[in-house]
Amino acid sequence: MSEKEKKQDTKKNNAGKIFLEELSKSPLTLTILAIFSGLLLGGLLVAVTSVEVYQAFDVSFWEGIKSGASAAWSTYEALFYGSVGNPGKIIDAIKGGQAEDIRRAFNPFFESLVVSTPYIFAGLAVALGFRAGLFNIGAEGQIYIGAVTTVIAALYLKGLPSIIHVPISLLAGFIGGGLWGFVPGLLKATTGGHEVINTIMMNYIAFRVSDYLLRGPLKNPEGYSPVSAPIEESARLFRFFDSPIRFHIGFFIALLVAYLVYLLLFKTTWGFTLRTVGANPRGAKYAGMNIMTSTIIAMVLSGGLAGLAGANEVLGVNHNLAVAFSSGYGFDAIALALLGKSNPIGVVLAAIMFGFLRNGAIQMQLSAGIPIDIISVLQAFILTFIAAPAIIRTIYRLKEPDMDLDAVTLRGWGGN
């Protein structure tokens, strides 16, 4: 008690200062400022690339500034409407009382969550790899193979009740992706072959395998394009609302999986082993851990999680498998894992952010005529700031943090 009082006493006069100092050391502050700076630069980019702004500058400097600000503003307004929804429309729809109008008004928000879902799975896949000291570049390929095995289970198993068919189809996706992770994992553990190279190679194999299957055995016999037949009703993930809202239970499955990954990594002896091998393989060997097994298991789990992203798209969104159905989720996942500091909670937040940005961007392009690429640039800005925290620290004069307990070192490069 007295000790506590003493502590408070000494801290009282500079409590504000200490709070600011702690705030300035917090990694969250850094992330928020990185996003903020990214948005700022993105706005600037919109302003300097729009013709109206230059025309306004011809009138007067002040007009130019105003026009630039309004261009940036309308971009972000469109982004917001596209990703969250237009508040005006929402109010009107509720007043009108038409169910379909209400669904339409709320659709942007739910659609963002739909886009976020595969990001969560894939981000977790790469993050788990990072934690185990593995750089899984192969999430994209694992997504494709996961989708292929899922669609096989969802197409050819017939007459099952949903409660069985859905889990089996998800499991099929996990196994497919896991198999695609197992191969580079085994190569790494037994021959030392670098997982970066091997997962990239496995990507190419996966793309071509799925192409072949969709043009051959898996192709819908009633169609002309390389698309599979629609999957069985019983294998589809439950949708909460009627059209056009596609929001399905996959989002909550993703959250549950994120929680399981968190438990595995931080609460179990398996996770302890994986993280130790990832942080210091020599120390792990000294402590009696089996590095080969750990490497293989980590790659299988990582691949399996990516496979779930593929399964989710097939079972929840598309209800079939098409060529090039994944628009680089597996590659964005690397960024997500970095953004989320390879922490499942961080990855979920980063994935949701990406989902909103991506979905909003489509609307933005339609309504404000801003090219969708601006979002890629925006993401790149944010990631650069996250990856090079010194920039943010210098701009905002933040304190150097104490040694980061959560620091995940990427040993992948440079051999080990």
């Binding site: 609460k267 179990t268 002896t269 398996w270 996770g271 302890f272 082993t273 993280r275 130790t276 942080a279 210091n280 020599r282 120390g283 792990a284 060997k285 000294y286 402590a287 009696g288 851990m289 089996n290 104490d402 040694m403 980061d404 307990l405 620091a407 070192t409």
Partner: protein, 504 residues
């Protein structure tokens, strides 16, 4: 006579640390001046200021009575100040001549390198100070002691009058140390002046003309070997009385714990590093393995602890065959290992102290129930070991990498000693630690011995081996060339054995 070098009121602040606090130091012409202090006392900072790597916040430097400012090593060398770093700055694939002229090359017309005249100059210097260095040999082929002389030649070649030697004896065999001191003597006899940085008390007393002790960034005092003894100096360094001679009871030797027979181990390059080595370690004794670094000790320890497998021979621990056992099996039989490289092998630097304290027991009760880690038990264990082993840390949850070297070692010792062990391998257990921590680790090792544990101590520090061991095995080129009783063994005898000299 004016001193050749004078430092007045040198002060250097780093964020949160006062590394040098108004340090005064005088170097007379032709003297060997020892700068003594623990790791982190501020010796290196002071020398880096003198060498132009840091700017002092306050204070003045005088050379031959003239005030100077040193802003770069190049500045320092033009003022006649040169430094031999603890880790040599040599290019192994270059010849001695190339290394010496590097950064100060002589060229012929057209920009072609002139190697002849530097080589001649090096030969001259080598003869003058009896350094015995061949300018045409490649550095990678030279023994460590000779490489050090190449570093000294680099300075003499640039006509340095003041030589700073940073921990010059750390990498040398006892014989090489003697040679180095002969060379240092011949240097000062020829008018050079030397500052040598060390934390080894014995050397200071034998070879220095004057001694300045630094603690916590301040000069504690300046003395001479005549006026001081080891205990005084240790007390000055640490700031309290330190017992240098550990109180060692006679060994109560018990049953055989480890039996090694005809062991052959290859190194990473598949060369035979350990060649048909046989020995036993009994409960209640410390077997010291003496030897110059790189004579197979590292590979021997790896094989005994299961980190690598021998290609031939047999090992039994507590009557169980461990020849091809993995580290976990060996640990579970009741063995502990203080690894040579504590940061690479012994710890996960980014993980918390608490996690590191259960690094090899995390999967066992009470730290885990089935596969679930019991965080409260892990934390309880950490709190208790932090207290018991005096690990100085604000919390059990900070990364172990943020601790000082001595405290990191205490984490390892605490972890390894907290299990009921029958056998302990301690490889270089005090390397790089300060006097206070060394004393602590030594006491703990003897406690374990007296409790009946069999201890294999591997160390390149002869003093440590002599002080702690009951028997001493000397390794040379992968073989154990002699096992002697520590009682009655002399330093000279062991030193000669370490150099491979076996009396007929």
């Amino acid at each position: 006579m004016k001193p050749i070098l004078e430092l007045k009121g040198i002060t250097k602040r780093f964020p949160g640390v006062l590394a040098n606090d108004k340090i005064d130091l005088t170097l007379k012409k032709g003297e060997i001046h020892a700068l003594l202090g623990e790791n982190g006392a501020g010796k290196s900072t002071l020398m880096n200021i003198l060498y132009g790597l840091y700017d002092p916040d306050e204070g003045e430097i005088f050379v031959n009575g003239e005030k100077i400012s040193v802003s770069s090593p190049r500045d320092a060398i033009t003022r006649g100040i040169g430094m031999v770093h603890q880790h040599f700055m040599l290019v192994p694939v270059f010849t001695v001549t190339d290394n010496v002229m590097l950064g100060d090359e002589t060229t012929r017309v057209g920009g072609f390198l002139d190697r002849k005249s530097p080589a001649a100059r090096i030969r001259e210097i080598s003869d003058e100070y009896s350094l015995e260095v061949d300018p045409n040999s490649y550095v990678r082929d030279l023994p460590v002691g000779v490489q050090q002389r190449v570093e000294i030649i680099k300075l003499l070649y640039r006509e340095a009058d003041i030589l700073i030697l940073d921990e010059p004896t750390a990498v040398l065999t006892p014989q090489e140390v003697d040679e180095l001191f002969t060379i240092m003597r011949s240097l000062v006899d020829n008018g050079k002046s030397i500052i040598f940085i060390t934390h080894k008390l014995r050397e200071v007393l034998t070879f220095a003309d004057r001694i300045t002790v630094i603690r916590g960034g301040k000069v504690v005092g300046t003395t001479t070997p005549k006026e001081a003894n080891q205990n005084d100096l240790a007390a000055m360094m640490v700031g309290r009385e330190v017992s240098l001679e550990v109180d060692k009871k006679p060994a109560q030797v018990k049953d055989k714990v480890l039996e090694v027979k005809d062991l052959v181990v290859l190194d990473d390059l598949n060369h035979v590093a350990v060649n048909k080595v046989s020995f036993d370690v009994h409960g209640g004794e410390i077997l010291g393995i003496a030897g110059v670094q790189g004579n197979g000790q590292t590979e021997l320890v790896k094989a005994i602890t299961g980190l690598s497998h021998p290609t031939d021979g047999k090992m039994n621990l507590m009557k169980q065959d461990i020849t091809r056992a993995n580290p976990r099996k060996i640990t579970e039989i009741g063995s502990a290992h203080i690894p040579e490289d504590r940061q690479q092998d012994g710890l996960v630097l980014t993980a918390s102290i608490a996690d590191n304290l259960v690094l090899n027991t995390y999967y066992l009760e009470p730290f885990a129930k089935n596969v679930l880690i019991q965080e409260d038990k892990v934390l309880e264990n950490a709190e208790s070991l932090i207290g018991k082993f005096d690990i100085r840390t604000p919390s059990a949850l900070i990364p172990v990498g943020s601790l000082s070297g001595g405290n990191q070692q205490k984490v390892i010792v605490g972890r390894e000693f907290s299990r009921p062990i029958k056998f302990l391998v301690a490889a270089q257990p005090t390397r790089g630690l300060d006097v206070g921590s060394i004393e602590y680790i030594h006491i703990r090792l003897l406690e374990k011995r007296d409790a009946g544990c069999a201890i294999l101590l591997v160390s390149t520090e002869l003093d440590e081996i002599m002080e702690l061991s009951d028997r001493i095995a000397v390794m040379f080129e992968g073989e154990i060339i002699a096992v002697v009783d520590a009682e009655g063994a002399t330093k000279e005898q062991i030193g000669l054995l370490m150099a491979g000299v076996v009396e007929a």
